[in-house]
């Protein structure tokens, strides 16, 4: 059974059909790309999957269960986590605290225990912090755990978003333009990191990215959207030479 399946997912904002009958399937362990020109409906797809919007029609199925209409925090608990295209960290919190928020959904102590400062809640806090440090290491941020998130340079903020999302221990990780604003070296490093996240942690990854080299080198399968419609679907080589994709989006072969 596939891990995530969109079945004719559609959402309308007034007269605008932002996502129109989009269907695709992700198998466990996939490294899947979602591309398309500006305004194609990619981020809206993420918003549908993560429960920010409820589809006007169609189904979103995670592990065989319909999840459309489930609130975002429940979706995160089910095992889907995301990053944001326009970075949304917790700016005044430290790098470490940002990641602990991600890990917090797996906490095992009560609020009352924390208010009473019971040893169990202290141990739990320690455990969550230690775990968070592990995720910071994976994203190469373990050198700056106490810096304010807002003070980090852009590339690091993008990586921190990934670390925070990973801390929720998702089965499916959605990355919205993770390489945007990075220089070629940073992009190269990020590509390797994303591959490692899939290989070492067994997390299925769906990534939106405008950088064609990045997507083509990273992803094994790609879906192309244009004006909310799915216009192509397949491995990178096929996408690269698909005339519909070329005319709609790329303009020229890559």
């Amino acid at each position: 059974m596939s891990i995530l399946e969109l079945q004719a997912a559609t959402i309308k904002f007034g007269g605008l059909i932002a996502v129109n009958e989009v269907s695709f399937k992700l198998e466990k362990g996939d490294l899947f790309g979602l591309i398309g020109p500006n305004g194609a409906g990619k981020t809206t797809c993420f918003n549908l999957i993560t429960g920010v919007y409820k589809p006007t029609s169609g189904d979103i199925i995670f592990h065989g269960r319909q999840i459309q209409g489930t609130p975002p925090n429940r979706i995160a608990q089910l095992g889907i986590c995301r990053t944001f295209q326009n970075i949304r960290l917790f700016p005044a919190l430290s790098v470490l605290e940002n990641v602990v928020v991600g890990g917090f959904l797996r906490h095992r102590t009560t609020l009352a225990g924390a208010l009473l400062y019971l040893p169990s809640s202290l141990r739990e806090t320690r455990r969550l912090k230690d775990e968070a440090m592990d995720y910071l290491k994976i994203l190469d941020l373990d050198g700056v755990p106490n810096a304010r998130a807002a003070d980090l340079p852009y590339g690091m903020q993008r990586r921190l978003e990934i670390a925070r999302a990973m801390a929720t221990k998702p089965e499916l990780l959605l990355l919205d333009e993770p390489a945007a604003g990075m220089n070629p070296q940073e992009k190269q490093d990020l590509m390797e990191t994303v591959k490692r996240i899939r290989d070492d942690h067994g997390i299925t990854i769906l990534v939106i990215e405008h950088d064609m080299r990045f997507v083509m080198n990273l992803c094994e399968r790609i879906v192309v959207l244009d004006h909310g419609e799915e216009i192509a679907h397949g491995p990178p080589e096929a996408i690269r030479n698909d005339p519909k994709v070329i005319s709609a989006y790329l303009g020229e072969p890559v």
Partner: protein, 405 residues
């Protein structure tokens, strides 16, 4: 083992300190005791509002309403039921009333908190303010609880120790929250609701919890106030009280517990201190009008120069300190120059103003000065700690996070 002995010790120290305080002020005048009690109550109020406003980021400004619910609910119960029930120990009864007041106010807090699920910022502020006024006006129009004449609370029970114990518990609860991972969802909701939700934080639950805890402490404070004063009126809980509490939170630095405590103590004490100032003859202090105006000139000069140094000069900290001192000296000089000229105006020189009338001016000026020089509040987002103080004097990383590596 070690943990529990430290825990036991801190509880005992807290209890001991409260009892000691009670013993110390027990023989003071009613008026002085009342100041000590008010400071304690305002600390509870501002620290609990800080949980809602500063830590969770929900701009609520009707905090006096919860204070009032606690006071009226328990005042009514004491007046009507104390003599008819089996607990004849007033201490136990008042402790019970603290819980009752807390629960009653928490129910009100739950209702007031509901709009926060949909509204943000200014809109939420308006709704909470309106809610506070609705509660106050409702009380004002209930003859059964005294209407606008107020209500007697008999028997009254004056306990400085309980007031300060409540303040300590309120501080401890907020501090514990921030010291454990459970505080992070509250902070993350303040920072970004959408991202919090995407990380699995139940934003609704967090906001409602903040309102529940915050209002419960205000309700317990209200219960103690009612029993201390023995008489309450709706005006005790007017909009101005809400604003004073909010001012304490903002002045101390939104989000900082120590800031709220400091500002609450300052703002609750300052007006009373000024009221109590006596001249050499033992009569209330009289100040010539020219001096009042001269001091205002001095403050204006000091603030202007300090801001100039603050914004324009970036260099060695010692030299900067010297510049600040220079600004201060110039301000003092300008006070005497201004006084010299102002004394030539007969109205100014002859008009003697009692300190009682000047004190609200001083209060307001203090607020304006602090907000001009430090708009982020005295403690900004920080908590007071020695490493923070040291950090002020040296460059480098300033510790800011409760949960640090």
């Amino acid at each position: 083992m070690r943990f529990w002995s430290i825990r036991l010790a801190s509880v005992l120290i807290a209890l001991g300190a409260c009892v000691l305080l009670q013993a110390l002020v027990g023989h003071a005048s009613d008026y002085e005791q009342r100041i000590v009690v008010l400071v304690g109550l305002y600390i509870t109020l501002s620290v609990s509002l800080n949980l809602i406003n500063g830590i969770t980021g929900q701009f609520s400004i009707g905090h006096a309403a919860f204070y009032q619910v606690g006071a009226y609910l328990t005042g009514y119960l004491t007046l009507n039921y104390f003599s008819k029930q089996p607990i004849h120990n007033m201490l136990l009864w008042v402790i019970l009333m603290m819980f009752v007041g807390a629960i009653g106010a928490a129910v009100a807090g739950f209702i007031v908190g509901l709009p926060s699920l949909r509204l943000r910022g200014d809109y939420l502020a308006i709704v909470t303010l309106g809610f506070g006024e609705i509660i106050r006006i409702t009380v004002q129009n209930q003859p059964a609880i005294g209407g606008s004449y107020g209500m007697n609370v008999t028997p009254k029970y004056q306990s400085v120790a309980l007031v300060w114990l409540l303040a300590i518990i309120c501080i401890a609860v907020c501090r514990n929250l921030l010291k454990t991972a459970h505080g992070l969802p509250f902070l993350s909701v303040r920072e970004d609701e959408v991202a919090s939700q995407a990380m699995g934080v139940n934003v609704t639950r967090v906001k409602v919890t903040a309102f529940l805890i915050g209002s419960a402490f205000a309700g317990a404070a209200g219960a103690l106030l009612a029993h201390f004063e023995g008489f309450i009126t709706p005006t005790t809980f007017g909009m101005d009280v809400s604003f004073i509490i909010l001012t304490m939170v903002v002045l101390g630095g939104t989000g900082s517990i120590t800031g709220s405590i400091f500002a609450a103590a300052l703002l609750a004490y300052l007006p009373e201190y000024l009221r109590g100032l006596k001249g050499a003859d033992g009569q209330p202090l009289m100040i010539p009008g020219s001096n009042v105006v001269a001091w205002l000139v001095a403050v204006a000069v000091a603030v202007t120069l300090t801001r100039l140094v603050m914004n324009k000069y970036s260099g060695d900290k010692l030299k900067k300190l010297a510049l600040y001192l220079g600004a201060f000296a110039l301000a003092v000089v300008s006070r005497f120059i201004a006084a010299f000229f102002l004394r030539m105006i007969p109205v100014m020189a002859n008009k003697q103003i009692p300190i009682d009338q000047v004190r609200m001016v001083i209060f307001a000026v203090t607020l304006i000065v602090i907000m001009l020089l430090r708009p982020q509040g005295i403690f900004a987002h920080h908590e007071f700690s020695w490493s923070w103080v040291k950090g002020l004097f040296k460059r480098g990383e300033v510790p800011h996070s409760a949960v640090s590596a």
